[in-house]
């Protein structure tokens, strides 16, 4: 297999563009889910909120302004083909420079601070991003940019269940996480659930679950059934759009599963606000 070269300038340019695109445009799957939710929502106020959220998406796209003033911590998921050779510099610096340019040139809010438990001084360019790189087969490179807002991220939960516990305990934990979060994570939300692995693996799975096309069922039939049951229970909580009461609290629940140790059943929950922003490119 010949080695394919990708220059860091190309990576920086792609990340710059993706940061701006992700913040200005909601993807079609998200818009379709919002529209469907408006049709199903029983609360008139909830319907109105959903209409306003869609109007907001129109304005953001036309005026090239961010969907939400919280342009997030930038999560970057890289799938790097093992037959790719990166030239011109190192990968992480190239990505970071892309974030710096995207957030500066795109009039996006800079929300990252240094020394989070002491000085909390702004880094001024929204760097550093949080980067996850997977080495995969092939000679391509896929980059996904996910601006993740602070309000919903603060509602993240983890529990180390024991093997004596199981499906019902997972449902109870996830539903409780959504119930306690209430109006804070900007519902209607998307719920990412990671089950298995270690604590860190479960947490990462719960984030990666958010990358799936919105509302697509898990390929695993048990996980898909768990997704359906969780969605029904969560929407029975009555929280509704923006927490003002209603029948659509979550647009979707995505579950990702990984094998676990004989002693363990780790479960992580990440909540994503309705402004579910992501943009992807394959180089």
């Amino acid at each position: 297999m010949p080695i394919r070269e990708i220059h860091t300038d190309e990576i920086t340019g792609a990340v710059d563009e993706l940061c701006q695109q992700a913040n200005y445009y909601l993807q079609d799957d998200v818009l379709a889910a919002l529209k469907k939710a408006r049709g199903k929502e029983q609360s008139p106020l909830g319907q109105q909120v959903l209409t306003k959220i869609m109007e907001n998406a129109d304005i953001a796209a036309v005026k090239q302004m961010p969907l939400c003033q919280d342009c997030g911590t930038v999560l970057i998921f890289v799938e790097l083909g093992q037959d790719v050779h990166i030239t011109g510099g190192d990968l992480n610096s190239a990505i970071e420079e892309g974030v710096r340019r995207g957030y500066t040139d795109g009039y996006l809010r800079k929300s990252m601070v240094h020394a989070p438990f002491s000085s909390r001084t702004n880094t001024e360019d929204n760097t550093p991003p949080v980067i996850y790189t997977d080495i995969v087969a092939g000679d391509k490179m896929a980059i996904t940019v996910v601006p993740k807002g602070g309000g919903s991220e603060n509602m993240t939960r983890f529990v180390a269940l024991t093997p004596a516990q199981g499906r019902q305990d997972i449902i109870d934990f996830v539903v409780d996480a959504v119930d306690k979060a209430g109006s804070s994570p900007c519902p209607p939300i998307i719920v990412g659930v990671g089950i298995g692995g270690t604590a860190d693996k479960a947490m990462l799975l719960s984030k990666k679950a958010l990358l799936r096309s919105l509302g697509s069922a898990s390929g695993d039939s048990d996980a898909a059934e768990l997704e359906r049951d969780l969605l029904a229970e969560i929407n029975a909580l009555g929280i509704g759009p923006q927490g003002l009461g209603g029948t659509i609290t979550a647009l979707a629940v995505h579950v990702e599963v990984f094998p676990a140790h004989i002693a363990s059943l780790p479960v992580a929950v990440t909540l994503q606000c309705h402004s579910c922003r992501h943009a992807k490119i394959v180089l």
Binding site: L67, C68, Q69, N122
Partner: protein
């Protein structure tokens, strides 16, 4: 939809009820986490606040930067709960209204009743839409905080919903109770 003028007086605050949809026009001020911390530190030291807070509405918001020729970037509310530790002291100092998103602590709800104030919610994640209601924006304090600086805003018909009124109403509580259905999946 009814329009209310900011700053607020007791008569207007008393006329607002949980669940009312209202449009806010007039002058309001922004403040979020760090600005709250500094204002409360100032009060503790007996120093003046950056503006006369009596009757005012605080908007929990840190905007995105404005493109050239525009007043402001996206400008939606942040989660109000993080301001709860500071809010009773500001209400005591005369603050009359707050715009944010998400529920408040019991202590804040009690202070809202005691000091006769109102808590309003704007739609979180609708920052581009809300920015259309902001006609001018000027940083008046803590400039070095960037997005977190205190801004004086002139707004016209900023759409909000009354969450907590002076009568103890709480729309998050009431709205949820109305649509909550018991479920027992096994």
């Amino acid at each position: 939809m009814r329009t209310i003028e900011a700053p607020l007086d007791d008569k207007v605050v008393g006329s607002l009820r949980t669940g009312d949809e209202v449009a806010v026009s007039g002058v309001i001020y922004t403040a979020r986490d760090t600005a709250h911390k500094r204002m409360v530190q100032a009060l503790d030291k007996g120093e003046p606040l950056p503006f006369d807070i009596r009757g005012q509405i605080l908007y929990y918001m840190g905007p995105a930067p404005a493109r050239p020729g525009r007043v402001i970037g996206s400008a939606g509310p942040t989660t109000s709960g993080r301001m709860d530790v500071y809010t009773p002291q500001l209400l005591e100092a005369g603050l009359k209204g707050m715009i944010g998103k998400g529920g408040r602590s019991d202590e804040v709800k009690r202070a809202i009743k005691n000091y006769k104030a109102v808590y309003l919610a704007a739609i979180g994640g609708a920052g581009a839409l809300i920015a259309q209601s902001i006609k001018s924006a000027r940083v008046i304090a803590y400039d070095e905080l960037g997005a977190e600086a205190v801004r004086k805003l002139e707004v016209v018909d900023l759409p909000v919903i009354v969450i907590n009124d002076i009568y103890g109403g709480d729309l998050y509580h009431e709205g949820r109770a109305k649509y909550r259905r018991p479920m027992h999946l096994t």
